[in-house]
Symmetry: C2
Subunit: 204 residues, 2 copies
DNA sequence: CCTCGATGTGGACGCTGTGCCCATATAAAC
DNA sequence: GTTTATATGGGCACAGCGTCCACATCGAGG
């Protein structure tokens, strides 16, 4: 992470989008490289070449900048498969999440973003609006579709299902008492779909 | 939160335990009153009367101090009822957790502690060791006891169960897309115990 | 009774980051 | 070409950190 990567620039106005783009790119790099710990306006300013004043003008807090930079960097595809088998679809999506979070630096960054959002309202709002809410909505829609197909019980609380699957994974991500693995993800779906009761009639 | 509550004290040695006690009391007050945002060595020093040097000597990071102060302040009783009905016991404990977290300032503080622990290894270690691990162990033991009684299926993953119940609640605490309520807690237990599948034979 | 080691205290140092304020330069819009 | 918008450089006071040193005082051993 070399500081001063943008050689030097004179004063004067530059296209807003150009500046924003450079800032977000620099911020994304910094975030992936050093996490929220070393992520400051100061350093983003130094790396991107933009002045601190400019950063403050566009982003109310370092968290807000970090969130936007991160979402732009990962820009993961928002899609939820619907094969007609809700258990398979949930497993698929949950596994994708686990792989993303355990395989790359993304896991640490997401955890730190959520962490910082506890004391940064701007970040919390950005995270909810641009990340968690839309993803949550997709999963909820999938479960409700399965309910309408008669695949799960009619009184299912789809929102709670999301918490019992993804929330469980976030729990292990944020409070790593136990490891977050693919096997764990499969177990989550299995235990939730079939329940914990002793199986009288083991289904196929 | 009046600064300088300890009038003034001369130099010189004082009993270690006395100093530690005063510091932890002051830190606990500050934490409950202002959360992690305003929680700094500087202010704890000003309120407790102890010098910053002393704080640094005993606690490696502000997070470590916050954690110890918080656990000492709440010192909640560690007990898990065992009535023989696992569903009832889990519901009971989960409700107690929800009430603690929603009813008092404790919820915000816990959330902020977990948040800070994402970038403070000392805090993360303290939190795991003194709080999450022992509590988790109790819940796991209860589930495994139920399994041995034949109340839940033999291949149950007790650790995963904890994540699907408490993790779900932490999810709503840390990423408040949806509210954390007592009804939610009851739903969690119900959906997990009975499963999501369409009920052919509705149990009593 | 006295000396000495352990340990808290006051005070200061440089450093980083914040949030804000200018004046100035320059690109874009009219 | 004139005007307007906006990025820039620089400086300010402030907060907190982490560390250092000299000093005061307590407690224990002689």
């Amino acid at each position: 992470m070399t500081e001063q990567q943008t050689p030097r620039r004179g004063r004067g106005r530059r296209p807003a989008d150009e500046v924003r783009g450079e800032v977000l790119a620099a911020a994304g790099d910094l975030l992936l490289a050093e996490g929220m710990a070393g992520f400051t306006f100061e350093r983003v300013s130094a790396i991107s070449g933009a002045s601190r004043t400019t950063l403050h003008k566009w982003w109310p807090s370092r968290g807000a900048l970090a969130a936007e930079a991160y979402f732009r960097t990962v820009e993961s595809t928002l899609a939820f498969p619907d094969t007609g088998d809700i258990a398979a679809d949930l497993t698929e999506q949950l596994l994708a999440f686990v792989r993303l979070v355990t395989g790359t630096t993304a896991g640490r960054v997401i955890a730190e973003l959520i962490g910082s959002s506890q004391t940064d309202p701007e970040l919390a709002a950005a995270y909810r609006e641009h990340y968690s809410a839309p993803r949550r909505a997709l999963a909820v829609a999938a479960v409700e579709a399965a309910r309408d197909r008669g695949q799960v019980r009619v009184d299912v609380d789809a929102e709670a299902v999301v918490d019992q699957l993804w929330g469980a994974c976030y729990h292990r991500l944020l409070i790593p008492d136990q490891p977050l693995t693919e096997a764990f993800a499969r177990t989550l779906v299995d235990q939730l779909v079939h329940g914990l009761r002793t199986r009288e009639i083991t289904p196929s």
